[in-house]
Structure formats: C-alpha cells, structure tokens
C-alpha cells in the first residue's frame, strides 16, 4: 500500500487530500503519475494542466525516482512560502 498525498491547489482541484494505491512492486514516479491520470478524466486533465512537484518520504525527487510499496508520496504545486 502506498499513500499519495496532495497539497494546496492540487488538493483542491483533485478533490481529495490523499489516495491509497495497492502497490506491489517498485515503480518510478512517472509511472505512478500515469496510474493517477488513469483514475479519471478530471484527474488526468488536472495533472496535465499543472506543474507538479513530487516528494517521496518527505524529500523532493525527480520523475525517474523509484517508489517502493509503503513509501509516502506527495504531489503538490510549486512552493510559494517565505
């Protein structure tokens, strides 16, 4: 089971703050995003429309990063703090 969390604008647009994926083997971030897009046309549209940053286990990662079952993945828009 992999927990995928959404923040800020992305959370509002997708309509959920998290989503659980019954992951069984390692996949890269790119593949995980394709799985999310396959969930619904609305999600596909949102995830295509926006720039999305990805963190795995609370560290920013590239799209090629490998996600293992049990990891915490977070998707969010570019940050705007400070």
């Amino acid at each position: 089971m992999t927990r995928i969390r959404f923040f800020a604008l992305l959370r509002e647009r997708l309509g959920v703050s998290e989503w659980h994926y019954a992951q069984e083997k390692p996949v890269d971030v790119e593949a995980l995003i394709r799985i999310l897009k396959a969930e619904s046309l609305a999600w596909e549209t949102e995830l295509n429309a926006q720039e999305v940053l990805v963190a795995v286990n609370q560290a920013l990662v590239e799209r090629s990063f490998i996600v293992n079952p049990g990891d915490e993945v977070a998707l969010f828009p570019p940050v705007t703090g400070g």
Partner: protein, 154 residues
C-alpha cells in the same frame, strides 16, 4: 553553532530571535531577514492562509540550513516560518545567521531564503476584499535559487 528551526502559528519577535543569535563571543556579525505580508501592486491584502506539509517542512528547512553550513563558515542559524492565517503587515518568515564575518552571514541568509522559497513545502493563499486565490510560483525565485548552483565561490 546551533541551528534552530521552528514552524508555528504564533508570531515571533525579531528582537528576541536576534538576541538568541548573539550569545556567542566569536560572533561579530548577525544578519536577519524578515518577510512580511505586504499589499499587492493592484489590491490591498486582507489576509493570507499558509498551508504546509507538516512531516516534510522542518526536515527540509534543516537540510537547507545544513547546506548553508557546508558553504559558509557560520555559527548560529535560525529559521522560523509561520503557518495558518496571517493578516496585513504580519511577519511570515524569519532567517537569522550569526557569523564571525559579515559576508558569510549575508550570503548564508540570502541562500537560505532563496532555497526556502523554491524548496520548502509551503503554499500561500491570498485574500483581497473580493477574491481569494493560490499564489503562483515566481520565475524570479527560481532564478534566484539557480544562481547559487553556478556560484561555486563564496
């Protein structure tokens, strides 16, 4: 040689944070940066809501402070970021650096702010009198962070 990281709802006192940074007889220079809620070019801000990713923020801020220490010889580092609802003119973020010499304190403080702006998981939602929206990330912030990559020298 202490690093202090805090993520909090409450306001902070710049005077108190400055004092904390000066308890070190080897520290000859203290630079502080404070970011405040300011009016927009086109409208007065009523309030600002700050969301964050709790499990990640402090770890990320600690990582930015550690990178600053690798680049410059500095002594104390304090990073405070507020979350929740803030109104006009209130402080949002504080970065303080104490060092033996002024240039490293200036550089480390600006580096920390540039990285915080582009890496730390905070998002701002602004309210004016008639609307409310998520703030868009700025290309100028990306450029500001990028210049430290080229900049190998002090």
């Amino acid at each position: 040689m202490k690093t202090i990281i805090r993520v909090q709802m409450e306001a902070f006192s710049v005077g108190d944070e400055y004092e904390r940074l000066t308890h070190d007889p080897d520290c000859g220079a203290v630079v502080t940066f404070t970011g405040l809620v300011r009016d927009l070019p086109h409208a007065a801000i009523q309030a600002l809501e700050l969301e964050h990713y709790p499990e990640m923020t402090e770890r990320m801020l600690q990582g930015i402070a550690d990178q600053a220490r690798q680049r410059w010889s500095v002594r104390g580092i304090t990073i405070i970021h507020r979350i929740g609802r803030l109104t006009r003119n209130q402080p949002i973020v504080f970065v303080g650096v104490a060092s033996a010499h002024r240039h490293s304190a200036f550089q480390a403080a600006e580096f920390i702010m540039d990285f915080l702006k582009t890496r730390a998981p905070f998002w701002k939602k602004e309210e004016t009198s008639d609307t409310c929206y998520w703030v868009a990330a700025k290309a100028s912030d990306q450029r500001a962070a990028k210049r430290w990559e080229q900049d190998s020298a002090q």
